[in-house]
Symmetry: C2
Subunit: 360 residues, 2 copies
């Protein structure tokens, strides 16, 4: 294992996806939604621990969640839990973690990953990550992983490679031509057909010094704040210093703030059974459904004339009896019951706007 390889896991989400299973108090990354026996955070940690040193894995999360991180990953040393006082999107999050790592190891090369994605083909994934890390380690470039699209998805941004679509090889580096916004369905179909467009996975790799340079040049208003903390990172003074930074820092994504402006961006296309599992619908797609095309995440269930539906019940011993429903989402937890047509996450977001915060 290369002791210069680090991983930053971004675990700050507050649970707006998969409501009402996922909550502000215990958001998605801290849940075992798929019933694997590990939460998303744990799976992500253990996945990267196969290819780089455990003690080089940092978890960035909201300060209100550090307890949960400790609970789920009990053997971390304090430096590994990076507590953000508030949410400022991914660029400040990455800047903060980078400066902490630079303080320990200026030769670090870092893979940055979300904490709550699903990876089915882990061997293939880790192979590409290794290649991406090696490439980033030996090039002054910002590397991202692109996912080979399996459908004209309108919920993701796409990355266009500087290469014709015909002979793109998975796990090789290609210069990025452009990042796109979330497309319309027609445009998504064009993207997928061309073979040159890949889903933006939210995974990155770069040398610590390379991303630091990029931040300095492309997001100076963010970089200057964190730069002022050099000498305070990984010391008692870090906490107070960071509180002041987050008070002032603007909220911006690494994609918008850096990747879309940089000229040294490379993408490694991959196909490893990936899902951001960002919606109930994506869970439905992943699930092994019954012979009426129902996703059933419940232990005691009686279904009569129920089809094309998603059923998720948090309490194992609860009996759910449903008759005559087609294409519905039913989620039952201790204090919230949701029943709505399937495959319409927008309606759930709308509903969440009128829900008393204690239920969020």
């Amino acid at each position: 294992m290369n002791t210069n390889f680090y991983c930053v896991i971004m675990a700050g989400g507050i649970g707006s996806r998969f409501w009402p299973i996922s909550r502000n108090l215990r958001p998605k990354q801290f849940l075992d939604i798929l019933g694997t026996g590990r939460t998303f955070l744990q799976e992500t940690f253990h996945r990267f621990a196969k290819i780089l040193p455990k003690e080089n894995i940092l978890i960035v999360t909201g300060s209100q969640y550090t307890g949960l991180v400790n609970e789920q990953l009990p053997n971390l040393n304090p430096m590994q839990i990076v507590a953000e006082p508030s949410r400022c999107n991914t660029a400040p999050c990455i800047a903060y973690a980078t400066y902490k790592i630079l303080d320990k190891n200026p030769n670090a090369t870092i893979v940055v990953a979300p904490s709550d994605h699903l990876i089915i083909n882990e061997a293939e994934f880790l192979s590409i990550i290794n290649k991406a890390l090696e490439f980033a380690d030996t090039n002054e470039s910002l590397v991202t992983l692109g996912i080979k699209p399996t459908r004209p998805e309108t919920g993701y941004g796409y990355i266009q490679l500087s290469h014709s679509g015909k002979d793109i090889i998975m796990g090789e580096a290609y210069k990025v031509k452009t990042f796109t916004e979330k497309p319309t369905l027609d445009l998504a179909k064009v993207f997928v057909k061309s073979g040159e467009f890949f889903w933006n996975s939210g995974l990155f790799a770069w040398k610590a010094t390379t991303i630091q340079t990029a931040l300095k040049n492309l997001l100076p208003e963010v970089n200057v704040l964190f730069e002022q903390g050099v000498g305070k990172y990984n010391k008692p003074e870090e906490s107070d210093f960071i509180k002041k930074v987050y008070n002032e820092c603007l909220s911006v994504s690494i994609d918008y703030g850096v990747m879309e402006k940089a000229d040294n961006v490379y993408v490694f296309p991959g196909d490893f059974g990936w899902s951001d599992l960002g919606t109930w619908e994506s869970l439905y797609l992943q699930w092994n459904k019954d012979d009426q095309s129902n996703m059933v995440d419940a232990q005691q269930v009686i279904l009569k004339e129920v089809s094309n539906s998603s059923i998720a019940v948090s309490k194992k011993e609860k009996l759910v009896v449903i008759k005559e429903l087609d294409n519905y989402l039913i989620v039952d937890t201790d204090d919230v019951l949701l029943i709505c047509p399937r495959n319409n996450e927008e309606q759930i977001k709308q509903i969440m706007r009128s829900v008393d915060p204690k239920y969020l």
Copy 2:
């Protein structure tokens, strides 16, 4: 108050109606389904306590429910709780209570009532009950209360009066011509139109000695078993004796066993806002619905495009969010969630046959 007037409340049901709110462990009569602040049993007790002495009110129930009765009516003396070792329908239940009362007071006149009906116009009801008791007290007759039908209901038996339909007066006694079985819809329409047919309320009144005679003549196989206990009633020996009786006793309703055979049956027709509340549908009919015709028995609810539905949630603080449903029944309790089309109790009964008994 007439100290010869008694009341026998039949509270032995095991909760198959209103499942999953009503359970074997805590059946309907012990619940406050309407949210009045009293359970059905308590309402029934207090209703009759307005017109006859409290200590003359007996509750007949299954032996597994005596604790619940004590909990809900804490000031009864032991004689007032009549514990049946098993369920044998209403004739044995009535025989048992009658012999206990005869032991105390041979001059008793008794009103027999179910424990779980809804009476909206209580003053009118009590007025008719009083007339029925007075009539029964001074005639050797078996009196029943008939409910003026408000629709061609196929779920009840009917009582036909010996009188043309045109000038029947509520609260007067009429000789009964016949009892009918539950009719088809067409027949029910004919019944209702004629004005001579009334719903069988399950309420009765008679002198203790009159019903004893009727049992002797018309149901001797039941009567002889209970008659053997004379001298044991209201004494320590009663309990063992009754266990033996219920081991042997056949299960039969008072309607089938006595009322349909007797020739001294009178009916008092009444119109006092009665419902046996025997189905979720009857509850829906009673409820004050919202402007989308939903019955909502829940405290925290967000409904979008939901209509003609019944929603009942046992946990007050639970949020229920429903979008786009029409004509459904949704019942949520701690350990059972039921979602099915409204107004089809038969389907619920069918479903209950495949449910693990621990959920019943």
